[in-house]
Amino acid sequence: MTPKTHTRLAWFWALTLLGCVVLAGWMITHGVRFDTRVTALLPDTHQSARVQQANAQLGSQFQDRFVLMVKSDDLPGSVKALAERLEQSPAVERLQWRPGDFDTGDPVALLGPARYRLLDEDLRKKIDAGDYQAIEQRALRQLFMPDGLDQHPIRDPYGLLDRWLAGTMALPFRTDSNLITLTHEGSRYAVLIGTLEGNPFSQSTQSTLHQAINSVTAAHPDMTLLRSGMIFHAYEGAQQARQEISTFGLGALIGLLLILWLVFRSPKTMATLMVPLLAGGLFALAATLLVFGRLHLLTIAFGTSLIGIAIDYAIHMQCARAALGQRFALRPMLPGLALGLFSSVLAFAAQALTPMPGLRQMAFFAATGLIGAWLTVVLWLPRVTLKTTPSAAAAADRLWSLFCAFKGRLTVAWALVGVVLALSIIGVRLHTNDSLQLLTTSSSPLLKDEQQVQSILGRDTGSRYLLLSAATPEQWQARAEMLEPLLKRLVKNGHLGGYELLTDHVPSSAHQDDNLERTRTLYDKTLASLYGQAGLPSSLIQKAQARLVNPPHLTLEAWLESPLGQSDRRLWLGHSDTEAGVAGVIPLKGALDDAGLAALERAARHAPYLSYEDRVARIATVLGELRRTIAGWVGGAFVVLAALLALRYRRRTWRVMAPAAGGVLITLAVLALAGTPVNLFHQLALLLVIGLGLDAGIFMAEHRARHAWLAITLSSASSLLAFGLLAFSATPVLHHIGLTSLIGLLSVWLLVPLVQPHTLDLPETPH
C-alpha cells in the first residue's frame, strides 16, 4: 500500500463514518424500533402470532399498570395525599382510587334484555332441583323492598339480573369513605390502580413514579405500602445495575487510565485507544440498523463483549509503535492484525448462520463493530504521531522477565493432561440453568409485596395460561365450557389456584338457551302464585311471560365492548391476520402443581385447538436454546479456525489456539467445581475470552516481540478491569459476565507464556 493510497482510504473511512452518524441519527430520530422482547430472538416459526398476541395482551396488565395497597391509621387522609401526588405525576396517565373512577356503564341496558338467559349456578341448581320455594320467597320480598337493579314485577320479578351480577362478578372490595378498600388478615387496605404514561422500563418514568411515592410516604410515616407491577421490579433492577456499573465503572476507568499512563505517558496516545472503540460501535450501529431496521437491546448488551476485543487492535498497534519508535512499519503488523480480526469475526459470523434472528443480529453487530474498529486502527492510528516513550520499552522489558519465568513450562503432554482433566470435570459436574429467576434483581420485600397483592386481589402476571382457538366465537365458547369441569376439578383438588374464564361472564348460546328454558319453567311454576301473594292482578302474568318469548342473547362482542366487560378484553384475541378463526386465553392463577400441569398438558394433547403456555418457562427455553446454539456454532468455528490457522502456523498451531481454548476450558472447569450453573451470560463473556485469547495467541506467534507481550498484558488488564471487576456485582447478569471474564482472562494471560517454546528468546527492545 502506497502512502497515497493509505491517505485516500483513511479519508474514505472518515466519510463512511460520517455517513454512519447521519444514517444512525436519522433512523433513531425517525422511530427506529428498539426491541426488548426476549421472544423476538426466537425464529418466527417457534412462536405463533397468537402466542405473541396473548403474551402482549395478558402482560400489559402487569407491565403498564401498577397497584398500590395502602394501610394507614388515617386511611382517607393518606390515600388522598398519595392519590393527589400521583395524579399530578407525569409518569401516571390515569389513577383509579375512588368508586367513581370505575366506569361500569349501564348494566341494565347491557344485560337487561338477555337476563332471562343468564342464570348463575346457584339459581340453575335450585331450578333443576325444583326447589322453588326459596326463590319465590326472595322474589316476593324484593317486590316490596327492591334491593338491586331493575327488580320490577314485569321486567324481572325474580331479580335475575341482580343475581347474575352478584353471582358472577362479586368483588372483594368495599367502598366506604369513598375509597376502594378491602380487609385482609385484620388490616384494612385502600387500593389504588395506576396506568403508566410511559414504558415501565423507561428510566424517567421509573424515577418520577418513585419520587412521587417516596415524597408521600416520607410525609406520612404511619403509611405502609404494598406494591405490585413491573415498574417497581424494573426500577429496583435498573437502580442496582446502574449503581454498580457506576461504582465498578469508575474503579475500572481509574485503574485503566493509571496503567495506560504508566506505559504511554501521553494523553493523546491514550485517547487514540478509545477512538477505534467509538468508530467500531458507530459503524456497527449504523450497519445493524440498515440491515435489520431495528435493534434488540440484548444486541447492545452483547456488544459490550465486543468492546474488549476491539480495544485489542489499538493496544497492539500503539504498543508496537511506542516500543519500536522509528523502526515501526505498518506492513509487518498487518498479518497479525488481520488474523486477529479474521479469527474473531469468524467466531461471531458463525452465529450469523444460525436460524435465530436475534442471534444473527447480535453476531452481525459484533462482527461489523470489530471490522469498524480494525479499519480505524489500521487506517487512522499510524497517521497520528506518537511520542516514543522509554517507559513503554521499560514496561515491555519488565514484563518480559515475568514472561521468561513462565515460558515453556507447559509441554504438549501436560497440556493434554490438563485438557482431559478439565473436560472430565466439565463433563461430570457442569450444570446449566436458564431459569429467569436466576436473573431477578428484585429485593425480597418487593417480591413479598408482589406476592401478597397478587394473592389478595387475584391479580396475575399473565405468564401462565391456556390458549384456546376455534372457528367461530360460538365454538370457542362451547369449547371453553367443555374445559370448565376439568379446571373446576383441579381447583377443587388443590392442584390449581384459580382461573379466569370468559364464559363465566358470557355463556355460549347453547348454554344461554338452556337457561332460558329454566327461566320459563320457573315462571310457569311460580309466577301466578307470586303475583297472588303480592296482590298483583293475574292479568299481568302474560305481560311478564311475553318477555320470555324471544329475548336476545348476550353476545361476546357486546360484552367486550361494554365498560363492564372491559377487564375481560385481555382474554379475547379475536380474529387474526395470519390465522383462521378466533382465539382467546384462559389465564391460570396461583399455584399450579405437577399433577395440575400434567392434567392440563394431557388435555392439550388431546385437543389440537388447546395449548398450555408458560411465558416465563418459554423465555427460559429461549435463553437455553440461545446458549446451546451459540456454544455449538462457536465450537464449530473453533475447529474450522484451527484448521485454517494450521495452514500458516503448522506445528505451532496448538500454541496459537491454546490460550483461547484453555481459557474457556479452565473457566468452565472452575465454574463446574464451584457448582455454579452456567447460563447464557456466562457464555457471552466466554466469547470475550475467546476473542482476546485468539488475538493473544496470534500476536505472540506473529511478532515474537516484547511489545506483543506488553500489548497482551495491557489488553488483558484493561478487559479485566472493565469486566472482571463485575464478578463482585450483586446483579446476577453482571456477576455472571464478570466472574467468567475474571477467570477466563487471567487464564488466557497465564497460558500465553506457558505454551511458548522454552527456547524462545526475543531480542531486547531497542531504547
Binding site: P76, R98, P99, G100, F102, D103, T104, D106, P107, V108, Q137, L140, R141, L143, F144, M145, P146, D147, G148, L149, H152, P153, I154, D162, L165, A166, T168, M169, A170, L171, F173, R174, T175, D176, S177, N178, I180, Q533, A534, G535, L536, P537, L540, L564
Partner: protein, 183 residues
C-alpha cells in the same frame, strides 16, 4: 353506581333518625355532630312502592332498630318476612351475608354510621331547608351512574324523621313513613 336501593333507604334512615336532636342551625356539621351523639332508636315503618308503568302500589310494613355505630336492623313483617342487618361486618339478609354489588356499590351506610358526611357529600348534593322542628333534606346524586336510576331522595322530619321518599328515574317511587316507638 347506586344499585342497592335498600341500602340507600337504610342510609337515609340512619341519616335522619337522630335528627330529633338537631340544633337550630341546620347544616351538615351539626348533623354529623348529632349523629355522633345519637344512641338507640327503634320504631315501625310503612313502605309503599309505587310502580309507575303498572299504576300499582305495593305496600309493606315492618320495624326498625338502630344502634349508632353498631348496627341497623330493618325488618319487614307483612306481607313477607325479611330481616336486613347492617353492621361492621357488612350486610346480611336473614342472617346470610350479601355479597357487595359487583359494580362497586358502596356500603354507604357505613359512612353514615361513622358520621362520614364528607363521603356522602361526594355522591350527593345535599340541600337542607326548614327549621329543626320542620326540616327537609334533599339528596341529589351527582354522578351520571347513579342518576341513571335515582332522581332524588327526600327526607322530612321534625323531632324525628317522619318520611323518606325516593324518586327513581323511571318514575317509580318508594316512600316510607316512620313512627318512632322508643326512646
Amino acid at each position: 353506581m347506586m344499585s342497592r336501593i335498600t341500602r340507600l333507604i337504610l342510609i337515609c334512615t340512619t341519616l335522619a333518625l337522630p335528627i330529633n336532636a338537631l340544633a337550630a342551625e341546620l347544616d351538615l356539621n351539626t348533623l354529623t355532630q348529632t349523629l355522633s351523639t345519637a344512641d338507640h332508636v327503634e320504631g315501625r315503618f310503612v313502605q309503599k312502592r309505587y310502580l309507575h308503568d303498572m299504576e300499582t302500589t305495593l305496600t309493606s310494613h315492618g320495624t326498625y332498630q338502630f344502634d349508632r355505630g353498631e348496627q341497623v336492623i330493618w325488618t319487614l313483617t307483612d306481607p313477607v318476612q325479611e330481616t336486613l342487618t347492617l353492621d361492621d361486618d357488612g350486610m346480611q339478609r336473614n342472617g346470610t351475608a350479601i355479597k357487595d354489588s359487583p359494580a362497586g356499590v358502596a356500603r354507604l351506610i357505613m359512612q353514615l354510621l361513622n358520621g362520614d358526611f364528607a363521603a356522602l357529600e361526594s355522591r350527593f348534593d345535599i340541600a337542607l331547608t326548614g327549621s329543626d322542628a320542620d326540616w327537609q333534606a334533599r339528596l341529589t346524586p351527582n354522578s351520571d351512574a347513579m342518576r341513571r336510576y335515582l332522581k332524588r331522595i327526600t327526607l322530612t322530619g321534625g323531632d324525628t324523621l317522619s318520611h323518606l321518599e325516593m324518586a327513581l328515574s323511571d318514575g317509580d317511587t318508594l316512600s316510607i313513613d316512620l313512627t318512632q316507638t322508643r326512646p
